[in-house]
C-alpha cells in the first residue's frame, strides 16, 4: 500500500487539526470555567492528570495498532471513522437547519460556573479537579482516537500528532488571549467540515480495507469530500425553513 501523496498529507493534517481544535475549544471552556471560579490550582491539576491518562492511552494503543495487518486496520479504522464522522456530520446538518441548538460555549460556561459556585471554596477542590479532569480527558479521547485512527491507517502518525499538537497549542494561546470569548469560534462550520472529511476517510479506508482500488487513488478522498460537501449544501438549503433561509441570506 502506497503512502499518501502531498494532497493526502495536507487533507490528513487539516482534518486532524480541525477535529482537535474543536475538541480543545470544548475542553478549554470547561477548564477556564473551573479556573476562574474555583482557582487555577485544581483546574491545572485536573488538566495534568487528564493529560497523563491520555498519554497512557496513546502508549498502550499506539504500538498495539502497528501490529495489526494493514487491511484489517483500515477496515476497523474506516468503520470507526465512518460511524464517528456520520454522527458529527448529522449533528452539524441538524444545527444548520435549526433542528438542534448550536453549541453555545457562553451558555456552557455560565452553567458550569453556577454549578461550581454551589460548592464551598478551598485551595484544593475535588469537584473542580474532577470537572477539569473529565473535561480534558473526555474531549482528549476524541483527539486521541482521531490521531491514532487517521495517522496509523495513513502511515502518517507523526503528521497526525503534529496537527493535533499544533491545534492544542494554538487553541490554548488563543484561549489565553480571548479567555471567555470562545463562543466566537465557528464551531458548527468546523464540525461540519471535520464530519464530512472523517466520513470521506471512512469511505476511502473501508474500500481499501476490503480490497477495492479507488479510481484516482488518493484523489478519491478529495472527490468524496467535494461530493459530500455539495450534497450537504443541497440538503441544508432544501431542509432549512424558508423564513430562516431568507434571514440567513440577508
Amino acid at each position: 500500500m502506497s503512502a499518501l501523496s502531498t494532497s493526502g498529507v495536507i487533507a490528513l493534517f487539516v482534518t486532524v487539526f480541525l477535529a482537535s481544535a474543536v475538541e480543545m475549544v470544548e475542553a478549554l471552556t470547561i477548564v477556564v470555567a473551573v479556573g476562574a471560579t474555583k482557582g487555577w490550582r485544581s483546574a491545572f491539576e485536573g488538566v495534568a492528570v487528564a493529560l497523563l491518562a491520555l498519554a497512557a492511552l496513546v502508549a498502550v494503543f499506539g504500538p498495539a495498532l502497528s501490529r495489526i495487518p494493514m487491511s484489517s486496520l483500515r477496515i476497523v479504522v474506516g468503520t470507526v471513522l465512518l460511524i464517528f464522522g456520520m454522527q458529527w456530520w448529522r449533528k452539524a446538518i441538524l444545527r444548520s437547519i435549526g433542528l438542534k441548538a448550536k453549541h453555545d460555549e457562553d451558555a456552557i460556561y455560565a452553567e458550569m460556573v453556577e454549578e461550581l459556585q454551589q460548592s464551598p471554596a478551598s485551595t484544593r477542590d475535588a469537584a473542580a479537579f474532577m470537572m477539569a479532569f473529565k473535561g480534558v480527558f473526555l474531549e482528549g479521547v476524541e483527539v486521541v482516537v482521531t490521531v491514532i485512527t487517521l495517522g496509523s491507517s495513513a502511515h502518517r502518525l507523526g503528521v497526525a500528532a503534529t496537527a493535533a499538537g499544533t491545534a492544542v497549542v494554538l487553541v490554548a494561546i488563543v484561549g489565553l488571549i480571548v479567555a471567555r470569548q470562545l463562543s466566537n469560534v465557528p464551531e458548527n462550520a468546523m464540525k461540519m467540515v471535520v464530519g464530512i472529511m472523517m466520513v470521506a476517510y471512512g469511505t476511502f479506508w473501508i474500500g481499501e480495507g476490503i480490497g477495492l482500488r479507488w479510481p484516482g487513488k488518493d484523489l478519491a478522498l478529495l472527490a468524496f469530500t467535494l461530493i459530500y460537501g455539495f450534497l450537504t449544501w443541497v440538503v441544508v438549503l432544501s431542509l432549512t425553513p424558508r423564513e430562516r433561509s431568507v434571514a440567513v441570506a440577508s
Binding site: I75, G78, T79, V80, L82, I83, F84, M86, Q87, W89, R90, I93, L94, I97, L99, K100, V141, V199, G202, T203, I206, G207, I210, G211, L212, R213, W214, P215, F224, I227, Y228, L231, V235, L239
Partner: protein, 89 residues
Amino acid sequence: MGSCVVTDAARAVCGGGVMKFVRGFGKFLFEFFVGDTPELFVLGVAVLTIASALLHYLNARALVIALLPLMVFGGVLGSVLLERRRKSR
C-alpha cells in the same frame, strides 16, 4: 491489583471498583459509538458488510465504487429526516 487479595473487605472494595470501572467504560464506549443514533452505528456496519459481500462474492467493483458513498450519504440523510419527523410530531 495486589491489594485486592489481602482481605475479604479489600477484595469487595477492589472487585466493586473494577466492576464499576468496566461498567463505566462500557457505557462510555456505547455512548461514543452508538449514543442517540443507533441507526448510524447499524449503517456503518451494514455499509462494510454489503460492500465486502458485493466485492468478494459478485466481484462487482464498479457497483461498490458507486454504491459505497451513496449508502453513506443516504444513511445520513435518512437519519436527518428521521430526526426532523420526530421533532415535527
